[in-house]
């Protein structure tokens, strides 16, 4: 019997008992839809992480005082000697440092007119904008001179415009940051949420010196302190090598003896995000495993119904054998039915999977990442399940003795 004929009659059989066929397929549908959604989510999350890595600056090294003790317990950052502006100048002179930026951060209350807003303040220099590839959409960023002189100017994120100025033009307006007035000279392009879920546009950025001298205050023992340094590694230098050299250089500058623990940390953003994505990958594996289990359960359901069908149709099988069907013909017939059931379930599942991935993408805030491969793998999984779980019932049917089957009541 030709396979196409077997498929055609299997489709007929499927329509002959539509409700039962659908219920049988349900497990496969759910399984395939979840396999597909899981894979799409995994891909989408990966794409988003890659995007974040490049957005954060794949070639940026971040330095913070404090130490990572053995066993991962970190000492408070404040306990170690902070960096200083002298460190910034020294680092800027290194050949592999393309740009160097120092920062001080604080939570502040910003007031404009009658409106209050709790936000975060970053005191930094002009290099910050270069390193973060963050540019004003209106106005300008501050100049090196304004950084040096401690000018009372501010560059603000989109969320500040919305929350403090109700969307009206903020350029030239005054904001009182912890009661210190600064005037807005620029609005930055929108960045959206960080991978930690915080709003990256909810920030006021002012010159480092202004922040230290007038708002945050200098460190008790270390004037001209900065709490964080970012170094953009120049083109042509390897990030990892630069990181190692930077650690050695800073150990030297901070007079740490050989064998002593670092009292500062150097990390690159990519490592950081990847560590997070590793946990997400574990989650993904877990979800994929659950999807596989769903598919397996669906397959068992198909096998169960196929076995029932073989029993119900024993006489029909006997008749077909009497008319000249070989065991292999019967086998092909039932395999075709399992295949059609699972294939149809697979198609419906893929359709649902598209919907599921779309919803997941919407809520997760990333691009829908359904590739033809994912679709093919999902459909392929359904077909494999069909063949695998259809085989046993089909073999049982094929091995029936013609006369016993024909006489079966």
């Amino acid at each position: 019997m030709k396979f196409s004929v077997a498929i055609a009659s299997a489709i007929e059989a499927l329509f002959a008992n539509l409700l039962r066929s659908f219920l049988t397929m349900l497990g496969i549908i759910i399984g395939v839809a979840s396999v597909m959604t899981m894979m799409a989510m995994g891909e989408g999350a990966k794409a988003r992480i890659d995007e974040q890595i490049s957005a954060l600056g794949a070639s940026t090294l971040t330095l913070r005082p404090g130490s990572m003790r053995r066993g991962g317990r970190s000492m408070g950052a404040g306990a170690a000697t902070p960096f200083t502006e002298a460190d910034l100048d020294a680092l800027a002179a290194l050949p592999y440092a393309g740009a160097v930026s120092g920062q001080l951060n604080s939570s502040v209350t910003a007031v404009s007119g009658q409106t209050n807003w709790s936000t975060s303040l970053t005191g930094t220099d002009d290099a910050y904008f270069e390193i973060h590839d963050w540019h004003p959409v209106e106005g300008r960023i501050f100049t090196p001179r304004e950084v040096r002189t401690g000018a009372a100017v501010a560059v603000i994120g989109k969320s500040i415009v919305e929350n403090l100025f109700d969307g009206t033009d903020p350029l030239g307006q005054r904001i009182r940051v912890n009661n210190v007035p600064v005037s807005v000279i620029g609005v930055l392009e929108e960045k959206g949420q960080s991978s930690f879920g915080s709003d990256r546009d909810d920030v006021i950025i002012i010159p480092l010196t202004t922040a230290r001298n007038r708002i945050i205050g200098a460190h008790r023992t270390t004037p001209k302190n900065v709490s964080r340094i970012e170094v953009m590694v120049a083109d042509g230098y390897d990030l990892k090598e630069a990181q190692n050299e930077l650690v050695e250089y800073m150990r030297d500058r901070r007079h740490i003896k050989a064998g002593g623990d670092d009292d500062f940390m150097v990390f690159n953003i990519a490592d950081f995000v990847r560590a997070r994505s590793a946990t997400q990958a574990t989650m993904g594996v877990l979800l994929a495993f659950m999807a596989a289990v769903a598919l397996f359960v669906g397959g068992v359901g198909v096998m169960n119904i196929m076995l029932v069908s073989v029993t119900e149709r024993t006489r029909e099988i006997g008749l077909r054998m009497a008319l000249g069907a070989r065991g292999s013909d019967i086998m092909v017939q039932f395999l075709a039915e399992a295949l059609v059931l699972c294939g149809t379930g697979g198609l419906i599942g893929v359709t649902l999977g598209f919907a599921g991935s779309w919803i997941a993408a919407k809520t997760g805030g990333w691009e829908m990442a359904i590739s033809p491969q994912i679709t093919l793998i999902s459909l392929g999984a359904a077909v494999v399940v069909g063949l695998f779980f259809g085989y046993f019932p089909a073999r049982r049917a094929a091995r029936l003795n013609p006369i016993d089957a024909l006489r079966y009541e």
């Binding site: 019997m1 077909r320 008319l323 000249g324 013909d329 024909l406």
Partner: protein, 231 residues
């Protein structure tokens, strides 16, 4: 006669074992049927008629002895060859018709042609031809439930004919039909026999058996009598 028998049974026995009980359904049958013969098998219930038919039909194997169809010993054939033999040489007509309820007459008749792997015939045309032959040219798209018993049996006969069999095996084909319809079916079988097909028929009704040239009586798994009618 001189012609080689198309069916040949040599000391054929069939023993059914049910638990520790043995049923001797056939106790040593010797039988030769010539090509083109129309044979009726009669005998009391349980005498082994259907058992013999199943053996001739290559649906079952004898416990001992040799059963040959067109010279081929069934016990030496592989399952696939037996299937092909049933498909090409044999046609079955059952008491309960055994039509697929969801398929229409035409589809039912085409069913054996699906399994025909040697010749390349136009299944549709052949099935129509067979339905015309049994007088159901107007009912091809009827389902079994939309046909009378006699018509269903005609569909079954058309199905048996589709593969151009040399032998038709009919186990009580009129058992579920009234007298008038039975006669019609028998006339159909007679005309098929006239076209050269060997027919073996099991029946309980003497008037049905009258249509055959040869009557074999069974009793307790043995042939009691074997009479040819001069024609």
């Amino acid at each position: 006669m001189g012609q080689a028998p198309i069916i040949e049974a040599r000391q054929v026995t069939k023993v059914y074992t049910m638990g520790d009980q043995k049923v001797h359904a056939l106790r040593g049958i010797d039988l030769e049927i010539a090509p083109g013969e129309f044979t009726a098998i009669m005998g009391p219930s349980g005498s082994g008629k259907s058992t013999l038919m199943n053996l001739i039909g290559a649906l079952d194997q004898p416990t001992s002895g040799d059963m040959r169809i067109e010279g081929h010993s069934l016990s030496t054939m592989r399952p696939d060859d037996l299937a092909d033999l049933r498909n090409r040489t044999l046609g079955f007509v059952f008491q309960q018709f055994n039509l697929l309820p969801r398929a229409n007459a035409l589809q039912n008749v085409k069913l054996p042609l699906r399994y025909a792997r040697h010749e390349h015939i136009d299944a549709d045309a052949r099935a129509r031809e067979c339905l015309e032959l049994v007088g159901l040219g107007e009912r091809m798209d009827h389902r079994p439930a939309q046909l009378s018993g006699g018509q269903q049996q005609r569909v079954a006969i058309a199905r048996a004919l589709a593969g151009k069999p040399h032998i038709i095996l009919a186990d009580e084909p009129t058992g579920a039909l009234d007298t008038k319809t039975s006669a019609d079916i028998m006339e159909l079988l007679v005309s098929l026999n006239a076209s050269g097909i060997t027919i073996i028929l099991v029946t309980h009704e003497p008037e049905v058996a009258e249509f055959a040239q040869r009557q074999i009586h069974f009793r307790d798994g043995l042939i009691e009598s074997d009479e040819r009618r001069a024609s």
